[in-house]
């Protein structure tokens, strides 16, 4: 446990330094990386149609070029799956690694080879990926599913018509429902799909097994087809959308044998826009301990705690009291009205009450004589 902290701390410093360097270098090297991750954010908000072909093709290239980088990227994706905020702290490490790559390249070959510089650029947005991206994806899909099912179906029909016009379509009765959607979709989805030839997910859109045969397609097949075409038309959905919600890892030091010091709690509280008292109350309730705030704003916790453990508790705090349950956005406000805490989301406007922090049962620890009165 002691060896972990020195490992972590220097890298932290490194990261902050590097970031600064990167930004200062930005004006010098025109193709410095930090500028590039910005455009994909805009694309995601678009309603799914192909807005800008330029960045997209670049993304595609990056994808194909940076297959090696993709292996590293796979880790955050996996963590995405388990929990939104789980990756938040963990990704800091990975980001550090990635920050180093573009810097070296920027210093050595600032404008020589474009493909090499694009590859790390692909890595960065992926590393800074917001976990909420796939949530958005899901939401979008569920919203549009009913429409898209029909549309995909429509497209299927049309393609089959194009391929062999002689083949009779027995499902023609369904066509009139989505007729008006048909034209638009053919324009955006069908063309995109065929231009690219392949989806970023690796699913080939044109080669569904049911195309050749006469059988009915299944729902999972349609679903995978939908995702394939969705990612083909906006690759930025996969790599990045929005900014990641990150928080500096808590710095925990040991004071003496039985106390731990949480040094940067005020920073973290500021970052989360929460009152330190509330956070401290939660920490104490969860850890089943007590403590105090010392003169310089640091939190002294009774008991031995490691950084990882505090991180876990903070993660749970964020899930429960910081992120909006509706839209997963972290910019929320916590207000207290009539002894009840309300969490209002700044981005989606939802408002909900949250549980008060409860300490629960505290077992007798330590000497009983201390508790005795008189």
């Amino acid at each position: 446990m002691a060896s972990e902290e020195p490992l972590f701390d220097p890298s932290l410093k490194k990261r902050s330094k590097k970031k600064q360097v990167a930004f200062s270098e930005d004006p010098l090297g025109a193709d410095a990386d930090p500028t590039t991750p910005a455009p994909p954010i805009d694309d995601t908000t678009a309603n799914g149609d192909a807005v800008d072909l330029g960045p997209k093709t670049v993304h595609e290239q990056m994808k194909q070029n940076g297959v090696g980088a993709e292996e590293e990227v796979a880790e955050p994706k996996e963590s995405k799956e388990e929990d939104d905020l789980k990756a938040m702290f963990g990704d800091l490490k990975k980001k550090k690694k990635k920050k180093e790559i573009p810097l070296d390249l920027g210093e050595d070959a600032s404008g020589t080879s474009t493909p090499t510089t694009t590859a790390p650029a692909a890595a960065i947005p992926a590393g800074e990926d917001l976990d909420f991206s796939d949530l958005k994806k899901k939401k979008k899909s569920s919203k549009k599913k009913s429409a898209f099912d029909l549309e995909a179906f429509e497209k299927e029909l049309n393609e089959s018509k194009v391929k062999d016009s002689a083949a009779p379509d027995d499902d023609d009765e369904v066509v009139p429902d989505g007729e008006h959607l048909d034209d638009i979709d053919e324009a955006e989805l069908g063309d995109d799909v065929f231009d690219r030839g392949e989806a970023p997910t690796g699913l080939d859109v044109g080669t569904e097994p049911w195309l050749g045969s006469d059988r009915d397609y299944t729902y999972p097949e349609l679903l995978s087809r939908f995702y394939a075409s969705l990612h083909a038309s906006n690759p930025s959905l996969l790599t990045s959308s929005g900014k990641r919600y990150t928080i500096a890892p808590p710095s925990i030091h040991r004071e003496g044998n039985k106390k731990s010091i949480f040094a940067n709690i005020s920073d973290i509280c500021k970052r989360m826009h929460r009152q330190p008292e509330h956070v401290i109350q939660y920490l104490f309730a969860e850890l089943g301990t007590t403590g105090s705030v010392d003169g310089s704003g640091r939190l002294v916790i009774r008991g031995r705690f490691q950084q990882k453990q505090i991180e876990n508790v903070l993660r749970r705090y964020i899930v429960e009291y910081v992120t909006c349950k509706t839209c997963k956005s972290p910019d929320t406000l916590l207000t207290k009205e009539n002894r009840i805490f309300f969490m209002a989301c700044e981005s989606c406007g939802s408002r909900r009450s949250v549980n008060a922090v409860k300490t629960g049962f505290q077992a007798q620890v330590g000497k009983r004589s201390r508790n005795r009165v008189g």
């Binding site: 850890l287 629960g360 077992a363 620890v365 330590g366």
Partner: protein
């Protein structure tokens, strides 16, 4: 062909209480809280609070003690009722034990680091 997306769902319908199974329990929100407390050194204490009334705490404690090979005791608290205390960090073991016995995972809250 059955299209799942076209099923009509009344969004305003009562979805029912997810904890309706043990509604008669008067404890706070019917959660089973599993907490950990640090003692001196590297020793810890696990407490289980909010056990539904239909379970016999005494028998459960006996089963815990046998299963986890630890000691433990039953503490009467004026607010929380009966609380099971076990020696050592038994949080995950308790939660898997309880879920295996058919207590829904959603009602179990794991606290601590």
């Amino acid at each position: 062909m059955n299209v799942q997306n076209l099923n009509t769902v009344d969004p305003f319908a009562d979805e029912g209480d997810p904890l309706s199974g043990n509604n008669d329990v008067g404890s706070q929100q019917n959660y089973i809280h599993i907490r950990i407390q640090q003692r001196n050194g590297r020793k810890t204490l696990t407490t289980l609070q909010g056990l539904p009334k239909e379970y016999d705490a005494k028998k459960l404690l006996k089963a815990f003690k046998k299963e986890f090979a630890c000691n433990g005791t039953l503490v009467e608290d004026e607010e929380m009722g009966q609380v099971i205390q076990l020696q050592g960090d038994q949080r995950t073991k308790i939660s898997t034990f309880l879920t295996d016995e058919g207590i829904p995972r959603a009602t179990i809250k794991l606290h601590g680091f």
